[in-house]
């Protein structure tokens, strides 16, 4: 490093400060690499996880009948059809209940609610509910659907519990989608002498549909993957028939858990194979959400 010639009127301090810049920059580079490693590590674990699941489960997954048969006592025979059917039924019921109620609540809060204290309470309430653990929703479902309404540990209880679980997130995403509708659109509609509900149903909702849809898909994806609440509501670990609304039921994550808890060697593979099915489902749903987001941004 060359020394800077000291002249009488040259500020000394500048010379003092420039000393260790290179060292500091080297440290900076080290940290940059560390940060990158942090980012990559998470992705690496994900890749490892997927690889492991495929390795353990692909063989069992590809065995014929895995998707279409009912489970057996033996690890390498039978299939997971009841679990698949259960999960699909649960998903459908969740969508059918949460979309009207969730979008309705979001519309109320965004378009109709006055700025009073009780509106604020509703809003705080919803954001707190979004953070309640799913197993606590199971407690609620057990009390209300199983016992109070008398449905017992059946599929409808499980579905409604999952609906309550998904509702807060749908309300929040739907609100954001509705808020994103430009006011100029509403003014144009009102200016034509059209009522509030006509404006909302013909203009606001159609415009907000892609955003709402994305929220619904992501919510349902989470609901399908949840096991904790269903365990509390009384899902069974072994089911030999396709359940109806008022039967005992199960779901894909429950099936996975059930396989994992069985000590006989082959069941781990069955668990991995079921995981493959579940991940495919989750990937498909998330993929749809991403596609909608790309395609439909005005």
């Amino acid at each position: 490093m060359t020394t800077i010639e000291q002249r009488d009127n040259y500020p000394k301090s500048a010379a003092e400060f420039t000393e260790n810049v290179e060292k500091r920059e080297k440290i900076g580079k080290v940290f940059e690499i560390l940060f990158l490693l942090g980012l990559l590590l998470g992705l690496f674990v994900l890749a490892l996880l997927l690889f492991d699941v495929l390795r353990d489960g692909l063989g069992r997954f590809l065995m014929p009948g895995f998707l279409t048969e009912t489970p057996s006592r033996f690890p390498d025979r039978g299939g997971i059809r009841p679990a698949i059917v259960s999960s699909i039924l649960l998903g459908i019921i969740v969508i059918l209940t949460t979309v009207p109620i969730g979008v309705g609540a979001a519309l109320y809060l965004e378009e109709y609610a006055p700025k009073t204290w009780w509106t604020a309470i509703i809003e705080i309430n919803i954001s707190n509910l979004a953070g309640v653990p799913s197993i606590v929703y199971g407690l609620l479902g057990l009390g209300v659907f199983n016992y109070l309404l008398g449905f017992g540990p059946t599929l409808i209880s499980g579905a409604l519990t999952l609906s309550l679980l998904s509702l807060p997130v749908i309300i929040v995403t739907a609100r954001e989608a509705i808020r994103a509708v430009p006011d100029s659109l509403r003014y144009a509609s009102y200016g034509l002498g059209v009522t509030k509900w006509q404006t909302i149903s013909h203009h606001v909702i159609p415009y907000a549909v892609p955003g709402i849809l994305t929220g619904v898909i992501i919510s349902v994806s989470r609901a399908i993957g949840d096991a904790a609440s269903l365990i509390v509501v009384g899902a069974v670990a072994f089911l030999t028939f396709n359940p109806g609304l008022f039967n005992r039921f199960m779901a894909l994550p429950i099936q996975i858990y059930s396989y994992i808890t069985r000590p006989e060697p082959g069941f781990a593979n069955a668990a991995a194979a079921t995981i493959i099915v579940l991940i495919i489902l989750v990937l498909a749903l998330n993929g749809m959400a991403i596609y909608i987001r790309q395609r439909f941004y005005y």
């Binding site: 998470g42 996880l49 953070g131 653990p133 904790a228 989750v282």
Partner: protein, 313 residues
């Protein structure tokens, strides 16, 4: 009365038709009521949770004193000699959560810092699907991975029980990293560029700017992210149920098996305790403690992040 517009087909040719007619408002009023009812569902949900949990918990505390619950150090409701001290369960939750945050905070923050300060802007957008996938994987899968891959792997290096807090905690950490990371990323991105420019203009390196200017400015948002991550770890069930074990004990030894509050709740639900029995009621008592802890954490997280928003608005 002059004729308004001879072509106006919507009018009955009289201005008095501008007046309100009672039945006209009806559709809009009905809609408003229906939508309000939808919004009320959320309020009812909270009421439901609070009512049901605390009603059964109240019954529980008719039989078990508060002293027993909070002062006993053993939790053995299913054994012949019954103890009802909650601390072993809280300990299990605390231990696994701590391990999880020791993974999630460094990984999440590093990712957030790298993506906002170093990476080309496209990288964040490209990685987004992968991150969403990570966040969307059902928690059973992390449990599977912890028990059947991580534990055997780690046992080659350190002595571990088959069910242990470490594997479960590590996988929970990976699971929560996207949450901590993305909220921190938002917080860091919200730091005004003028702040960074001011720092650089003083001639400090990028790293120093990050540690001395950007991160402190984003601290509230990052804290909120961390608190939210803790809340999720506390409430997580399947990962710990599968991999951490079902032996409640007071220990900091992560190589042992422990039981968390959530795992106990799942265990009791799957069992045969009849409704109304004391064992059944423990489900709700533990649930009450869990609910209060996560509620407290969520409130803290919101409060912290609101303070953050005030600063920059």
């Amino acid at each position: 009365m002059t004729n308004i517009n001879p072509e106006n087909i919507f009018l009955s040719n009289s201005i008095t038709s501008l007046e309100k007619h009672p039945s006209e408002d009806l559709p809009d009023t009905i809609v408003r009521i229906i939508l309000f009812a939808c919004a009320l569902v959320s309020v009812l949900t909270t009421f439901g949770i609070v009512l049901i949990i605390f009603q059964v918990t109240f019954e529980f505390f008719q039989k078990i004193s508060l002293a027993q619950f909070f002062l006993d150090t053993k939790w053995t409701p299913l054994f012949a000699e019954q103890h009802f001290g909650i601390w072993p369960l809280i300990n299990g939750t605390f231990l696994t959560t701590t391990i999880a945050m020791m993974v999630a905070i460094p990984l999440g923050l590093s990712s957030a810092i790298y993506l906002s300060e170093y990476a080309p802007p496209q990288l964040a957008a490209t990685l987004r699907p992968a991150v969403e996938l990570l966040a969307g994987i059902p928690t059973v899968v992390y449990g599977y991975f912890a028990l059947l891959f991580v534990t055997p792997l780690l046992r080659n290096i350190i002595p571990l029980e088959i069910f242990n807090a470490l594997s479960a905690g590590l996988m929970m950490g990976v699971m929560i990293t996207p949450t901590v990371g993305s909220i921190s990323l938002d917080a860091i991105r919200s730091v005004p560029p003028s702040l960074r420019e001011g720092a650089y203009a003083l001639g400090i390196t990028k790293l120093e700017a990050i540690f001395k200017v950007v991160l402190p400015a984003a601290l509230s948002g990052i804290t909120a992210a961390i608190v939210l991550g803790i809340s999720r770890a506390v409430g997580e069930t399947m990962t710990v149920l599968i991999a951490a074990g079902q032996q409640p004990k007071l220990t900091v030894n992560f190589a042992e098996s422990v039981e968390t509050m959530t795992a106990y709740m799942a265990q009791i639900s799957g069992g045969d305790s009849p409704r109304g029995s004391l064992n059944f009621q423990t489900l709700y008592a533990v649930g009450a403690v869990l609910f209060l802890i996560t509620l407290g954490l969520n409130i803290i997280s919101h409060w912290v992040s609101n303070r953050f928003k005030e600063k920059y608005e």
